[in-house]
Symmetry: C2
Subunit: 110 residues, 2 copies
């Protein structure tokens, strides 16, 4: 699997997993986070490899549709860039501790 | 209609409208943004007042479910509070124009 695609889908899964069914969540989590193969997931759930593959492909398409509509990943990336630039102000700020803690709290919301 | 409920649903509609059907979007937009009455929407679409009411109630419930899962409105409110505190640093910052413009770009992402 291409690294870039894996990274993107791991992020999309992170943003939209609350909108998936429990089965979709389990398969995606094993495949993308725990690095199980399709065959291993199939064995674990006693279903065919093809069934796991189809489910994961459908879920990936759903995640891309949610992203097209809500843009959470895209906005996250844009926000990260702006946060990096804001952090560059930190060394010159008098109340640096307070400033840094506000930025940390902002990032935690992402 | 209670003002607080209207404000909340207007925000939820803003955040999640891309996940609604065209009909749901039209009814909600007329009701919450253009201040049409249920009767006026019913007349406009040549359906019963009850049908409009049921559709809007179902849509409101959907919006609350999306918020329960994705928390976009809640995170927006928390982010707004942090942004207000960050803005207080602005007067004492040397490159104030740059700082303000970064904050503005951040807010535009919400």
């Amino acid at each position: 699997m291409m690294l870039e695609k894996t990274t993107r889908l791991t992020y999309l899964f992170d943003f939209y997993q609350s909108l998936l069914t429990p089965k979709q969540k389990s398969y995606m989590s094993l495949y993308y986070l725990d690095d199980f193969s399709l065959g291993e997931i199939a064995e674990e759930y006693d279903v065919s490899r093809q069934a796991v593959y189809d489910n994961i492909k459908r879920t990936e398409a759903m995640l891309e549709q949610y992203e097209e509509k809500l843009l959470l990943f895209q906005k996250f990336q844009e926000r990260q860039k702006l946060m990096t630039k804001l952090r560059e102000f930190s060394p010159n700020i008098e109340n640096k501790a307070m400033f840094d803690s506000l930025l940390n709290e902002l990032e935690k919301l992402d």
